[in-house]
Amino acid sequence: MSKFGRKGKKKNPEISTASLPDIIFMLLFFFMVVTVMREDDPKVKISKPNATETEKLEKKSLVDYINVGPPTDPRFGTEPMMQLDDSFAELSDINQWIVDNRERRDEAEKPAITTSLKVDKETRMGIVTDIKQELREANALKINYSVNKGSVTDN
């Protein structure tokens, strides 16, 4: 290396950043395709159980969600609570909530309204049974138990 003098400093080749946006756009399209716009912030911690015999919910616009689980904010305690739309609610609020949801939809769609129960897997059945009784009284008979797809015997 000493025999040949360095003919002036060689500039380090610049890293071309032209392809960087392409990579980012690819990631962006991936997220746009795979994800779903989140409806309401869950105020309760929900760890869904696994099941294999599942079906996809057809029309998302005709699905209403009830979340049940221990609150994310420890100030509310550790007992499971029920969340309707974006706030906590009592069992007695379910009837009015169902009626309101029914009002929002067209006549033809009313019988197809599904209520999806997203319940934490550690919850005891007492509160879930009460919620189902209230749904029966409100004539919201199509229900869906929200689960993750997976083997039931894994746990």
Binding site: T17, A18, L20, P21, I24, F25, L27, L28, F31, M32, V34, T35, V36, M37, R38, P49, A51, T52, E53, T54, E55, K56, L57, K60, V63, T114, S116, V119, D120, K121, E122, T123, R124, M125, G126, V128, T129, K132, Q133, L135, R136, E137, N139, A140, L141, K142, I143, N144, Y145, S146, V147, N148, K149, V152, T153, N155
Partner: protein, 236 residues
């Protein structure tokens, strides 16, 4: 103007725009797959209605879950992994056991016969809703026979009765519902593969050719999971 060679477009700001959009989507969306087990709740019973007629013990598959998540099926403790096989046994009664329902053979002749009798009765009392419902049921059976041939079916009152305690964990409840559904779906898939070459899960409700096939398979293996009115079982 002399050409300077290709000018490089500064791509730095494109990357910024793309990052912003990406962060927006990361924050506002979830990868939550919306799947679940669909069920239909029974309509509420008005308090003054009389009790429904007693169903024969052999036609009811009793599944009890207590607050310790233990299963008691037909009076015997059972592991959750055996429940699917138990449900299949209830539906098919391969050994002809007197503790399980007696299946009746449905043939084209009997269906035609019944339909003719019902239609005659309907012509005599054309407003009877009950007769119209019965005719609908038998017409479904006729469709089933045309697509599948003769089959054996459960008695009309046979059902799987599920009762859980208020202290049962939701996870166990879902497992039980899943295994019962799994048993029925396995029967449906096997029958569909045998007769149509496609498993039942492959039939589509939006395809008009598949709809009668779906109806036929449901007629042979109806999903009859009934949840008893809730009450406290304690640690039974």
């Amino acid at each position: 103007m002399a050409r300077r060679g290709l000018q490089e477009i500064n791509a730095g700001s494109m990357a910024d725009i793309a990052f912003l959009l990406l962060i927006f989507f990361l924050v506002t969306t979830t990868m939550d797959q919306d799947i679940g087990i669909l069920r239909q709740l029974p309509p509420p019973i008005p308090p003054d209605m009389e009790k429904p007629p007693e169903v024969k013990q052999r036609n009811v598959y009793e599944v009890l879950v207590n607050s310790n998540d233990q299963l008691l099926v037909e009076g015997r403790p059972m592991d959750i992994r055996e429940l699917k096989a138990g449900a299949i046994e209830f539906y098919t009664n391969p050994s002809g056991s007197p503790d399980l329902p007696q299946l009746t053979r449905v043939t084209r002749a009997t269906v035609q016969d019944n339909l003719n009798k019902l239609r005659q009765a309907l012509s005599e009392s054309p407003d009877s809703e009950e007769l119209k419902d019965k005719i609908d049921t038998w017409e479904d059976k006729l469709i089933a026979i045309e697509l599948i041939g003769d089959y054996s079916e459960l008695p009309g009152s046979a059902l799987i009765s599920l009762q859980n305690d208020r202290g049962t964990s939701y996870e166990m409840y879902i497992k039980v519902q899943n295994e019962l559904s799994a048993g029925i779906n396995e029967l449906r898939n096997t029958l569909s593969e045998e007769k149509f070459g496609v498993p039942y899960s492959g039939l589509s409700t939006s395809d008009d050719n598949d709809k009668p096939k779906i109806k036929a398979i449901r007629a042979v293996y109806p999903q009859r999971i009934s949840e008893a009115e809730p009450k406290d079982l304690g640690g039974s």
